[in-house]
């Protein structure tokens, strides 16, 4: 009888213990807007070159090389900047080193999907339209906007670059 009492008390303590470990429910904040995130000024700060013809890569350096020192050579000029206007969906480029990677001075911009964007689209619907794949989300708290630029020769992709823009606001 005495043993039964001890077992019952131990079981009750165990149950109370487990309930004490139960995590507090967390409430997610409002969904962040990537349209808000991209708005503002960005400056080109890093450029990675990607060899698209490597068929067997063992380490990242087999396919990717940081070429910022060359593209953003300070002796040549200051890096390009880009401004995204949220209200008008327009962008403008301040020319500088790396401008030729984008080859736009101004135009309109869109996401392919405003909630879950994968592509940043310049001049949508125009003959000059270009799509840049986004490597990373661009929420208001993100420091970088990273896009992939493919260089083409005819229909063939010859090389790619990852352009890293740092928020300048």
């Amino acid at each position: 009888m005495r043993n039964k009492l001890i077992y019952t008390m131990a079981l009750a303590l165990l149950v109370v213990g487990f309930q004490g470990c139960k995590p507090e429910p967390k409430v997610l904040g409002p969904k962040v807007s990537q349209i808000d995130g991209i708005a503002g000024n960005w400056v080109l700060s890093k450029v990675d070159q990607i060899d698209v013809n490597v068929q067997l890569a063992f380490v990242e350096s087999d396919t990717l090389l940081d070429v910022s020192d060359v593209v953003l050579d300070a002796s040549v000029g200051t890096p390009m900047e880009i401004n995204f206007d949220k209200g008008k969906s327009t962008f403008s480029v301040t020319s500088g080193t790396g401008s030729d990677m984008i080859n736009f001075s101004a135009g309109t911009w869109n996401f392919d999907n405003n909630e879950y964007p994968s592509y940043l689209i310049f001049d949508k619907g125009l003959s000059t339209e270009k799509n840049f794949k986004m490597i990373h989300p661009v929420r208001p708290q993100d420091e970088y906007l990273i896009v992939n630029v493919n260089k083409m020769c005819g229909n063939k992709r010859t090389v790619s670059y990852h352009l890293w823009f740092t928020r300048k606001n």
């Binding site: 070159q49 060899d51 698209v52 013809n53 490597v54 090389l65 070429v67 020192d69 060359v70 593209v71 040549v76 030729d100 260089k151 083409m152 020769c153 005819g154 063939k156 010859t158 090389v159």
Partner: protein, 281 residues
Amino acid sequence: MTIGSVFGQKVWLAPDPVNLDDSVTIWVDIKKCDRQQLAGSTDALYMWTWNPKEHAVGHPLNNGTWLASNDALKFTSAGNDLWFYRMVPTKFYECTKADLYSKGISLLLKKKDGTGSAAAGEDKTEDLILKIDAPVTGPRKLYSFPGLVLKDSLSTSPADVLTIYYDRNLETNDTLKDKTDFYCVVKARYGASNTEYIYFIDIDKLTAADKGVAGVVPQMKMTDLNNGKFKFSFIPNRLFASKNANNLKITAVKFKIMRGYIRKTYDIVAESPEYWFNSCQ
């Protein structure tokens, strides 16, 4: 088709790189040949070949006679004085790939009767030599990023970044094995003719006046990666902007690795490759 075919070769193999155990095409551009007796010919043209092997009389692929070539060696016209012939080299010559790498293919084109005339000479091209490089495997002393897509061709344009690597660990020149002051001296082939170059130092005609490399081309200094490897990154269009006033198309870059001050020829890496860009700018 090799890029060399576009830029002035008279004979080439396609595809490039080539698999000698598979079907390949030998192309001949009569317009680029030294002898022009066959230019504009509407007569059939035939191959006369002797390397890596000449088949004996009676063999179905024997050359035939000078007055009557073997029909099995008849080339096909692609128009505009371009002629081609398809074969599987190891089967055609009944030889190994090693034979083809070491001896190449020697041939000439001729009319069925190659006699010609006393005034113009025989109806044939000069001897045409196809050198076939063995595939490169394993570590390389000189290489690029992005890598070559063909034997000597890049997929990129001269507006893109090109990085040249030098792996001193694979150097056979003892003088260079402990040195670190390396410069990647580049010259660029440019213009429509593909025969003109722009350069700060002409690496093909080095003179005593060029020995102070570091002072002439400080912008071409290689970065020491501290593992026996060195690299030099550049954008060809930008590097040669001051030498290319008319902004002519750069079609290739040729480079030579050398020390900052040349005291003797041992201060220069022996190899001097040339890399061709894509046709887009």
